[in-house]
């Protein structure tokens, strides 16, 4: 016979759950934390409302520069009146739909590639076609599109171009360098070490200078290399050296047993790396790799020093216009937001990727 056992349902005391419980447990658990909470609240009170008043209430949104100077708050007009130049630089005004479309294609491809289940052959073709189309749109010259020289490219498309190509080329190059540095072949190893240490020994700025000023001196008369391409190469070379060191850290974390197990079932060096070692090592180093990529993304703004008009430079140009002089706060806040969106989506994606890849642990 079965006896129904009646257990009176016990719920935790009200002070331990719900909003009150959370506040008590997290903000006021102890004297020190309570003081911290109060100080923080006070600072927030001092900072946040005035900022909102400046940014949203007293601000001017769509006026001339003159009108802006009357407003007590932020002058967002500097953005709204100049956004076409900030975003596209000297790209011919009537043709600016082309870089816009190119960027939309890029975002579309990036967004579609987020999902790892889409990483199949068709996606690779889509990227090849997409990249080709983007280049065509930017450059023109056929299909009735007027030709636009790359010296006129600027703004956000330029920044994205440098970043996307820079990072996607630097990553595999970095992996190869890392493998080379751990190679048994002494020549390869020495070359990789030399490369990595040389590149890490100089700042990106000097690499950019070299590629734009010194490098052309060695070219024969009349031969020129596209300036953007040279900057691009400098960024790739620079970033790959740092990626290489991060990846090397991951490779060192792999136990000898993994190599031995792979070899003992007959996998050769290439397959051992590709199927066993790299999938694990690269996964371990996702966080530092993404840090490197994020900082490389931001470093693309250094191309201003070789007179390329990336996003930051176009913004600064607007600021040098007498009508808009003095509104640098607003302009830089805007640029910061764009950069933040880029960096934040990268780190977000890396977290998603890490979670997906951690099934085995």
């Amino acid at each position: 016979m079965e006896q129904a056992v009646q257990v009176k349902e016990l719920r935790p005391p009200i002070t331990h759950i719900g909003v009150i419980g959370w506040v008590k447990n997290n903000l006021f658990n102890g004297v020190f934390n309570s003081i911290l909470t109060i100080v923080t609240l006070f600072l927030l009170w001092k900072v946040v409302p005035p900022f909102f008043r400046w940014a949203l209430i007293d601000s001017a949104w769509h006026t001339t520069g003159q009108a802006c100077r009357q407003a007590a708050g932020a002058c967002w007009s500097i953005i709204s009146m100049n956004y076409r130049f900030i975003l596209f630089g000297f790209y011919p005004y009537e043709e600016q739909w082309r870089p816009l479309l190119a960027m939309l294609i890029l975002f579309g491809l990036l967004f579609y590639s987020r999902d790892r289940s889409h990483w199949k052959k068709p996606l690779a073709y889509a990227w090849i076609i997409g990249l080709f189309t983007m280049g065509l749109l930017m450059k023109g010259g056929i299909f009735g599109l007027s030709s636009v020289e790359s010296t006129q490219w600027g703004g956000l498309p330029l920044t994205l171009l440098l970043a996307v190509f820079g990072l996607t080329a630097a990553y595999p190059l970095g992996v190869i360098l890392a493998l080379g540095r751990r190679s048994q072949m002494h020549g390869v190893k020495a070359l990789c070490i030399l490369y990595i240490e040389l590149i890490r020994g100089v700042p990106l700025i000097s690499l950019l200078f070299m590629s734009s000023i010194i490098f052309p001196l060695f070219l024969p008369e009349g031969v020129t290399f596209n300036k953007i391409l040279r900057a691009q190469v400098a960024i790739i070379l620079f970033t790959s050296a740092y990626i290489a060191e991060v990846v090397r850290g991951g490779l060192q974390g792999m136990s000898r047993g993994q190599y031995e197990a792979a070899e003992s079932i007959g996998l050769n060096y290439y397959l051992t790396m590709r199927l066993v070692i790299l999938p694990q090592a690269l996964k371990i180093v996702i966080p530092p790799t993404v840090s490197q990529l994020i900082s490389a993304f931001k470093d693309t703004s250094l191309v201003v020093i070789i007179a390329l008009f990336d996003l930051l430079k176009t913004t600064q140009s607007v600021l040098s216009n007498p009508e808009w002089m003095g509104f640098s706060r607003e302009a830089y806040v805007f640029v910061a937001i764009l950069y933040f969106l880029g960096c934040f989506s990268m780190s977000n994606y890396s977290r998603k990727l890490e979670k997906e890849l951690s099934r085995g642990d």
């Binding site: 136990s255 047993g257 993994q258 031995e260 197990a261 792979a262 070899e263 003992s264 079932i265 007959g266 996998l267 050769n268 397959l271 199927l275 066993v276 999938p279 694990q280 996964k283 890849l357 099934r359 085995g360 642990d361």
Partner: protein, 252 residues
């Protein structure tokens, strides 16, 4: 079971005066050993005597510096193709399992056949399931190694080697990283393998296993094979003082 006469169909592995040094340290000091097809050999000896090094030379995880090693008619020389060929014929089971943690159990098993033997994926996974069945864990196929117990992982490691259809299996202390209650399940699988006529070289201190399965037990010390004999003789009449000392230490 070792009383039954082993079918001698020729040699599987031959060591001829093999030497190896780690730097200055002379770890293998003239090994001569011949292993017949379907023969089962247990190697024991004190820690550091060179047992692991010896069997790791067979599939070139370690390189010998003098003498010759011939595996199934192929001499081990410094040639990548040659080494890969021998590795595909020689299965190895490690003390610490060394499964690939980022792959599921089935993927672990099918990896070698797919990439080394170029077997189609579907066929390789079917074969993988067959061998998982043989080591009694078909139900774990879709899990990851980290979700399995030590004994289960070691059985998967055995199945992974078997998937390559090896002609000889090497075991380097396959049970010494396991909790006592899991040792038996792994030894049972190895005994079943022996019954099917697999050529096996096993480094172990499981003397019960040696007694019931081995055709020959070898004792190694200081880089040499000190003596080798049938299990009965080996345990009853050890010839050397060092063997006697070693046996008295490990048999309680």
């Amino acid at each position: 079971m070792n009383t039954e006469k082993k079918a001698s169909e020729g040699q599987m592995i031959e060591f001829i005066d093999v030497h190896k040094w780690f730097g200055e340290f002379h770890v293998l000091q003239g090994i001569n050993l011949s292993v017949d097809k379907q023969e089962r050999i247990v190697i024991c000896g004190p820690s550091g005597s060179g047992k692991s090094t010896l069997i790791r030379c067979i599939n070139r995880l370690e390189e010998h510096q003098r003498g010759r090693i011939v595996v199934d008619g192929i001499e081990l020389i410094n040639n990548t193709k040659n080494i890969e060929k021998i590795r595909a014929e020689v299965g190895m089971v490690f003390q610490h399992f060394n499964l690939f943690p980022h792959l599921t159990i089935v993927e672990n098993l099918a990896l070698g056949p797919i990439w080394v033997r170029k077997v189609p994926k579907k066929e390789a996974e079917e074969a993988a399931m067959y061998y998982l069945d043989k080591v009694h864990i078909p139900e774990q196929a879709r899990k990851y190694p980290g979700q399995l117990s030590g004994g289960q992982q070691q059985r998967v490691a055995i199945a992974r080697s078997l998937c390559m259809n090896p002609k000889v299996m090497l075991f380097d202390e396959p049970t010494s990283a396991l909790d006592p209650e899991m040792i038996k399940e792994v030894l049972d699988v190895m005994i079943e393998l022996a019954q099917e006529g697999m050529t096996m070289i096993v480094v172990t201190h499981e003397m019960g296993f040696a007694r019931s399965v081995a055709h020959r037990v070898l004792f190694m010390d200081f880089g040499k094979i000190v003596e080798g004999n049938t299990p009965e003789e080996f345990f009853k009449n050890p010839q050397h003082e060092r063997t006697r000392l070693f046996l008295s230490q490990i048999l309680h």
